[in-house]
Symmetry: C2
Subunit: 287 residues, 2 copies
């Protein structure tokens, strides 16, 4: 048996499966203070003898085993979690190998093995929703530098037809990708929630412009074989043709990429990407 | 004995050394058509029995051994070189293991082992001169995705105080880093060569702004331990304090990075970075 945790800021999704990923049990636990939340999670897993556990956690979190902050949550507004030793708390009670990385990294891995990036070695996964985050697959494995990437906050230039004076909604950076292209940024411009806008609303052109810029910068940085878009905003399928067109204009054939219909694609696994990737990583460390 | 080639668009620097990098012979060959240029290079190396050869070549060039274009020069304005099988032409005459990558990648590797990134596992090297290019060190090795990165052409937002209507000098992309921050972009704004400008010319503030943005995007993408700046423009040391200040403002403590005096640094090896890195890679494949 293997286990998986998708540790989010509002809920913890926990699952147990066999090594073929047939789910035996699954639960959602509300993310409260670390002590109560851990007690509930450990009670769930305590009923099983696990051979491996995969964890995808909200960040910032130490993901580099060579650093002393490995497995620790970094500075976060989530009360009680700043500096919490998540990996240590799990290892103390669950005696099996544990693979720990970020929530977007496990989703990227799920898409790599069972979703939109199967059989590829290099890919970028971007989730575009309330925030923007990304994971990178390099040589078939999750990319970890000194810490994990934060792909949502790279710089972008102002889109054509951007609203005068709009610098985005990111509290940290004027004009970063998340500030200009997250769901709330669309809502802030429109005055209504993004998902209530018509499919042909011009704001989707602006959205597509920023995502195209991001895809261009990831292309030139990571040289992936595919870029996969998940998250709520990516469910607006009208974005994709606009984004591909804009990407082609921006990149201007500077480097060769695959056919854009196969290069800039929608995620296949939806909300299951994370738990699927975490289980697959659990199965790998279990071997 | 080991050999190295720095294959540039105007000259080929070739060197032979022992495995401690004591140079035994070194030559510069003008880059003409592939046939003549290869004949001269092969004549130089023909006098030595090499155990390994490291090659850093101008791009685009196939650097991924799993692809059919491995070792081939891509589309280039350099006459006769588009589609040339550089690796094949070398392998035919030089019977030793060959490591082939880009010119900026060998320079990055040189800086990693003997220059400004010693003892680090993750670093980004950026050369800022006539063009802008970069190499990435990941887990102590050169990062190769489906192909090599092209870090010089990522998107940036307009700097504060940018000249009205100036969209950069890149023939491919309005507003990319190289277009806005290469040496010629400074010259285009000033009407005189960049290196004739006074140290306190306000154009250096604009330059520092773009390099700070680039450093921010590389930080959030690759999570390196250090970013190293080489190339002619980086010799303008007044840029560094301005860039560090702007970087701190842009990043706004969103992720933790080392002290900026140690994080955004000048390259240590200057023009020797490339040949040093190529020799080190030759020594590695020779083992």
């Amino acid at each position: 048996m293997i286990g998986a945790i998708e540790a989010g800021g509002t809920k913890m999704v926990c699952a147990v499966s066999d090594e073929d990923l047939n789910i035996k049990a699954r639960t959602r636990i509300s993310t409260e203070n670390p002590q109560d939340t851990m007690r509930e999670m450990l009670a769930f897993f305590g009923e099983y003898e696990l051979d491996g556990l995969g964890v995808g956690a909200f960040g910032p979190i130490g993901v580099n085993p060579q650093r002393s902050d490995y497995g620790f949550i970094g500075q976060t507004p989530k009360e009680g979690w700043s500096g919490f030793d998540l990996l240590g708390a799990l290892q103390k009670e669950i005696k099996c190998p544990i693979y720990l990385t970020t929530d977007v990294n496990v989703a990227a891995y799920g898409e790599l093995k069972r979703g939109s990036a199967q059989n590829l070695q290099n890919a970028v996964y971007l989730t575009v929703g309330t925030g923007i985050g990304g994971g990178v697959i390099h040589d078939g494995a999750i990319y970890v530098g000194d810490t994990h990437p934060e792909l949502g906050h790279i710089m972008v230039k102002r889109a054509q037809n951007e609203l005068n004076g709009f610098d985005g909604v990111c509290p940290y950076h004027d004009g970063c990708l998340e500030g200009m292209a997250s769901g709330p940024s669309i809502g802030a411009r429109a005055g209504v929630k993004a998902n209530t806008l018509a499919e042909d609303d011009p704001l989707w052109d602006i959205e597509a412009d920023y995502l195209a810029q991001a895809a261009m910068s990831y292309t030139l940085s990571f040289a992936p074989q595919r870029i996969i878009f998940g998250g709520g905003v990516s469910n607006q399928s009208q974005i994709f043709p606009k984004m591909r067109k804009r990407f082609a204009e921006y990149l201007n054939n500077y480097v060769q990429v695959p056919n854009l219909d196969e290069y800039l694609v929608h995620a296949a696994l939806g909300d299951d990407a994370g738990i699927t990737g975490a289980l697959l990583l659990a199965a790998e460390v279990a071997r």
